[in-house]
Amino acid sequence: MRPEDRRYASSHEWAKQDGDTILIGITDFAIDELCNGNIDDLVYCDLPEAGRQVDAGETFGEIESVKAVSDLLSPVAGEIVEVNPTVEEHLEAMAKDPWGKGWMIRIKPASTDLSHLMDAAAYEEHIATPH
């Protein structure tokens, strides 16, 4: 079971409220889709500068595995106020701890309402369903 202290997007990003900000990362499922368990296949991650505004569903960065580039989509709208400085240089750390040290950006949201996203149970069902 994935952590229940956050919400999930169908595009496999998670959003976790932290005070008046929201932390954003990607799920273990997304990582496994990219590299099929071989985290050495993750080769590059491009994250934005702090200060940028994003809309919900907008691309905020990209992650590259040996064979694919995937867009990272923001689950919420707001201002990116902090970027995890270690992720771009240490993708293996992000892959090993996607729920904690692997957070990617911190957003000051236009709204802290995350009800448009899935809870952990719904996300489990989402990834278990062929689509």
Partner: protein, 241 residues
């Protein structure tokens, strides 16, 4: 079987080729297989590559930056294909490596039909591997297709918003930038893109369960492709990294 559209364009401009692939990724109205070639010859950088990582880039007539990852490809003497469809539709109903395995199984079958004994590289080293050229065909992974001890097919994907664009380049002959890689010519096979295309399509149909129907881009897709494609050869786009 799932119905896919087939769009074939021989000798199209780099702006058209890249613009149409992006339009199909963003708003393709049907799952689509494209077969195409380029005129003039064009070097495509991988999405994250810097231009100065490809020392021979100036030797190609034109330069673009692809949406897909990986290394640079000199699009000359080759058949290029793309497969654009939503995640969840075969071959995109598993992980990225699984989708490669399925697409590459189809290509290996097509190559066998013209007498090439191609297989996945696996753990075998390749004579085409080379340092510091930035070229896709000089870097290999276990899932890459090889024959004669060298790499002969380049592949890369872009995944955006629940949709996938898979690019592939199958080498019929080599180029001044790519040197001694695996090609049809190196295996003493003189086959043109037009002649090899039907073999590749049969491989996709048989291995991926596709039912291909010839078609063309819709007016909306074409308009989107023209708008998006114009930027692909601009200096700001090519040198953005």
């Amino acid at each position: 079987m799932s119905a896919w559209r087939l769009i074939t364009t021989w000798g199209a401009s780099p702006e058209f080729n890249m613009g149409l692939d992006e339009a199909l990724l963003l708003q393709g109205e049907q799952p689509t297989v494209r077969l195409y070639t380029w005129a003039p010859d064009t070097l495509s950088l991988g999405w994250f590559q810097r231009l100065d990582e490809v020392p021979g880039a100036d030797r190609a007539s034109r330069r673009v930056r692809r949406l897909t990852g990986g290394g640079a490809i000199h699009h000359q003497h080759e058949l290029t294909f793309s497969l654009t469809a939503p995640v969840g539709l075969a071959p995109y109903d598993g992980t990225v490596p699984e989708s490669y395995e399925r697409v590459h199984a189809a290509i290996v079958k097509a190559l066998a039909a013209v007498g090439l004994d191609a297989r996945l590289r696996g753990d075998d080293p390749l004579t085409s591997d080379a340092e510091a050229t930035g070229m896709c065909f000089h870097h290999s992974t276990p899932l890459d297709i090889a024959w004669g001890g060298a790499k002969g097919v380049g592949s890369a994907q872009r995944r955006r918003g629940g949709r996938v664009l898979h690019h592939g380049s199958i080498k019929l002959g080599t180029t001044s930038l790519e040197g001694p890689i695996a090609t049809f010519e190196a295996a003493s096979q003189q086959v043109t893109p037009v002649e090899f295309g039907p073999h590749l399509l049969r491989g996709f149909e048989q291995e991926l369960g596709l039912e291909l129907r010839p078609g063309v881009p819709s007016p909306a897709e074409r308009a989107c492709a023209e708008q998006l494609g114009a930027r692909y050869t601009t200096e700001s786009w090519v040198a953005q990294r």
